[in-house]
């Protein structure tokens, strides 16, 4: 068996029928609570089922993310699609297979051991019988517990790991996105968002707005304003007009420098890990304080949704990461029973965390209420996407270490101060949908309790060093005092915390005159961690021979994501003159059993490139209480001409459970870039992003 313990999602959805449906014709549908967000998980999960059933993934239909139909697996987040949901599907498919073989053996009067499944047909001693999925489907009761029947095949026999993306062509030439949806009688909606969470609508001539061309309805509820129009173009121009006319007041007190305010916060802090004592530091003292700004998700397609009311029932199509959680949140806002709400996932543009998808769904539902029976499609503007979606929170992490006389780190202390990472819909008992906070009867978000370390942590994710250090203390402080809306962005606190730990590791090693790789290996007991670092050293090959300084540098960053998921080491080469140019990236990763090789590589490469973009270029522009970027000129991201060669190698471990890979490269990439810059210029830039200005500040 592949995993000794049943996958966690089987606790809430224990029956085979929760995961697999068979039509009378023998068509098999895999049901998954894990939605496809562009990361290829649907294809990987299909592959896992297909391997068990002895068929090709294309032979299976796939349904994900629909309330009332698919299992509730919480949010598609945390890089757990394959390691959690995929494993559950694999177990369910295995159980289904064993039931089919049992039914076939009953019919044929032989042992199940003589039978196998191939391309939908039962083989006996390798020869086809006349029994197929379809003929046997009626014999099998799928309302049986998965765990009673599951015995998943071993990874080596199961598959080749060369899984193709089944949905790709449709994404290139078709119209699969929620943005593309058409429904009979559909109207087009646009919100006029308050510029900040604390802004109140003072004045807007709703009658004049209703008289704009093509406008069908105008909705005002508190400070929420929505316009419903016949066509997309009419809706856009009415919204533009309204934005020019609307007067808002904002009385919130706002600090000048948000990051400084986060770093200086005295809100209560929690100690999340304490081993040994760090109070009486022995040995040499090293410390760093790093920060990252608020970041935008920056999906290329803005958030979108379609909503429709039929009497008191609401249907919503959207690219939410959690259809059940959004349903709960919508139930709170509209005060209707959840049974009357259906939320159906439809693809959106790439999703890197808690973006505006759920907010757009509420916007659409609020507008659709004004036109009962008619669907309303809402596609946010680019400006909405920058200004209204949750941001990745600003953070400040202090990391201090003592080193004993043997050159070993004897203690490490991390203090993480961060704006909230965990404000997803309906967690903490409030809707956590943007407009809900400024309706006539407002439902502002409850204070974020963050994610406990046992579930990977939020702000403190990867704040506990993987290195063998006898005395460790980690504390976190969630800073609620700032007016900006923030929530989960790919890798949560890991990005900043890995940057802090890994740049400090290099500082210490260089100060002690020890090779940074040797220094890290000396502090690791985890063999898989060591192998990944040794492999990247090997892979990057020439880096040891090239002279450093004078504007050329190499740097390493390493982490095991959440200290429980995939391992990743990144080595970066930079050239610095007037500009900072990243010329090469090498990365190695151990994600256990590999389900979809090219899919995993794509995720890791994409993570590296996105993290490069955050690290080199990105900072949300804050003005007063508002996120002020309006367009891509205000918030540039990495372009083709700035992307280096990125080479990634997997250390495959077919005998180990599959581990998530979608977020493993964010932190190591940032650290590799910081350390490469350090190696080129002799200083570590502590405040991200690593722009030319920041480098100049650090140098002079």
């Amino acid at each position: 068996m592949i995993a000794p313990k049943p996958p966690v999602p089987l606790t809430a959805a224990p029956l085979i029928s929760n995961w697999i449906r068979v039509s009378p014709e023998g068509e098999i549908t895999v049901l998954s609570g894990r939605v496809e967000l562009g990361q290829g998980n649907a294809s990987a999960i299909c592959r896992m089922a297909a391997d068990e059933l002895g068929c090709v993934p294309e032979a299976l239909a796939f349904e994900a993310g629909q309330t009332g139909l698919t299992p509730n697996e919480g949010f598609t987040a945390g890089s757990m699609s394959v390691s959690g949901g995929g494993q559950a599907v694999r177990w369910a498919a295995s159980a289904f297979r064993n039931l089919l073989l049992k039914a076939a053996s009953d019919r044929l009067g032989c042992e199940t051991a003589d039978l196998c499944l191939a391309d939908g047909v039962i083989l006996r001693d390798g020869e086809p019988t006349d029994l197929e999925f379809g003929t046997l489907a009626g014999d099998v009761d799928l309302d049986r517990p998965v765990t009673e029947w599951a015995a998943p095949l071993a990874a080596e026999t199961a598959h080749s790991a060369d899984t193709l993306r089944l949905d790709l062509k449709e994404r290139l030439v078709g119209s699969p996105f929620v943005h593309d949806m058409e429904r009979p009688g559909m109207l087009h909606g646009k919100p006029v968002h308050p510029p900040s969470m604390s802004a109140e609508l003072q004045d807007l001539d709703l009658e004049a707005l209703r008289a704009r061309p093509g406008v069908v309805a105008v909705v005002r509820d508190g400070s929420f304003v929505g316009i419903v129009a016949e066509t997309e173009v009419d809706a856009i121009s009415a919204a533009r007009w309204a934005r020019g006319q609307a007067r808002w007041v904002d009385r919130a007190q706002v600090p000048n420098d948000a990051i400084q305010a986060i770093g200086a916060s005295r809100e209560p802090a929690d100690i999340v890990v304490q081993t040994g004592t760090v109070d009486e530091p022995a040995g040499r003292w090293f410390e760093t304080t790093v920060s990252r700004p608020y970041l935008h998700h920056g999906s290329i397609g803005p958030s979108a949704a379609v909503a429709q009311w039929q009497e008191d029932d609401l249907s919503v199509w959207c690219h939410s990461q959690g259809v059940y959680q959004l349903r709960t949140a919508l139930g709170m806002v509209f005060k209707i029973p959840e049974e009357g709400i259906t939320v159906i996932h439809r693809p959106g543009s790439g999703c890197y965390g808690h973006n505006g998808a759920d907010d757009a769904a509420l916007d659409a539902a609020l507008m659709a209420r004004a036109v009962p029976g008619r669907p309303v499609k809402v596609v946010w503007s680019r400006r909405d996407e920058f200004q209204a979606a949750p941001m990745g929170p600003g953070m400040v992490t202090r990391c201090a270490a003592t080193v004993d006389d043997d050159g070993k780190i004897s203690s490490m202390r991390l203090e993480v101060n961060s704006a909230p990472h965990a404000n997803r819909p309906s967690v903490n008992g409030t809707p956590n949908l943007r407009a809900a906070a400024y309706l006539e009867r407002p439902m502002p978000p409850a204070p974020s309790t963050d994610i406990p370390i046992a579930r990977g942590g939020g702000a403190d994710r990867n704040a506990v060093p993987l290195y063998a250090i006898p005395n460790v203390e980690v504390s976190k402080r969630i800073v609620h005092a700032l007016p900006y809306r923030s929530s989960s962005l790919r890798s949560l606190g890991a990005y900043t915390n890995v940057y802090a730990i890994e740049t400090l590791m290099d500082e210490i090693a260089l100060e002690l005159g020890i090779d940074p790789i040797v220094f890290r290996l000396a502090h690791l007991h985890d063999e898989r961690a060591k192998s990944v670092i040794e492999a990247v050293d090997d892979f990057a090959g020439s880096w040891r021979r090239e002279p450093r300084g004078q504007g050329i540098g190499w740097g390493l960053g390493f982490a095991r994501y959440k200290n429980t998921a995939g391992y990743c080491a990144v080595m970066a080469r930079v050239e610095v003159d007037q500009e900072i140019r990243v010329t090469d990236i090498f990365a190695t990763a151990d994600i256990g059993e590999v389900i979809s090789r090219d899919g995993a590589l794509n995720q890791i490469e994409g993570g590296i490139i996105q993290s490069m973009s955050w690290t080199l270029k990105e900072a949300a522009r804050l003005e007063g209480g508002q996120a002020a970027a309006e367009n891509w000129l205000d918030y540039p991201i990495l372009k083709f001409s700035e992307v280096p060669e990125v080479a990634v190698r997997l250390l495959e471990r077919p005998d180990q459970p599959p581990l998530g890979c979608g977020e493993i490269s964010q932190g190591p990439t940032a650290a590799a870039l910081g350390n490469a810059l350090r190696s080129a210029l002799g200083v570590t830039v502590q405040d991200l992003p690593l722009t030319r200005d920041r480098v100049m500040q650090a140098l002079f």
Binding site: S175, T231, V233, R382, G606, Q610
Partner: protein, 159 residues
């Protein structure tokens, strides 16, 4: 405002759009003609998601009034969905040159315009042709390899 008709060729066929205001080409394609492969990303000519080809040149359609293409030939990503598929589609799938795929139609059209004027571009020329197209999923290196493969395949079939 009185409605006017604008006629232009789309993927080889003459089509007419009746429009009151002079709407952007993007919405004429998506809403009036039902060609939804061309995507809205920003509306500011800053991301390339809406790129189409007009008389051989890659242009952003979100800021181009439909009247400006009257009588011209417009190509959208749907024109690549032939049987057999256009080499750019095969190459993008072979290299898994996408994650969400939202940026891809614009990128494929920018690449097609490049390959039509320069059948064997250097990598630096591909990069220059795609530099106005953003991809947030980070599939850039795969896209570059895919365009190179498509160029090679197209050159072979031309010989």
């Amino acid at each position: 405002m009185t409605d006017t008709d604008v006629t232009f060729r789309v993927n080889g066929e003459d089509r007419t759009v009746r429009t009151g205001a002079d709407i952007p080409l993007l919405y004429a394609l998506r809403e009036e003609l039902g060609l939804k492969g061309t995507r809205f990303g920003c509306g500011d000519a800053a991301c390339g998601a809406c790129t189409v080809i007009v008389d051989g040149a890659a242009v952003t359609s979100c800021d181009l009034p439909v009247s400006a293409v009257a009588g011209k030939a417009v190509e959208t990503v749907e024109s690549l969905d032939t049987d057999p598929a256009h080499p750019l589609i095969d190459a993008a799938i072979d290299h898994q040159a996408a994650q969400c795929g939202y940026c891809l139609p614009g990128i494929l059209m920018a690449a097609k315009a490049l390959l039509e004027r320069n059948s064997r571009p250097e990598r630096s020329e591909i990069i220059a042709a795609l530099d106005g197209n953003l991809c947030r999923c980070g599939t850039h290196t795969r896209i570059l390899r895919a365009v190179e493969q498509a160029a090679a395949v197209m050159a072979e079939t031309c010989e």
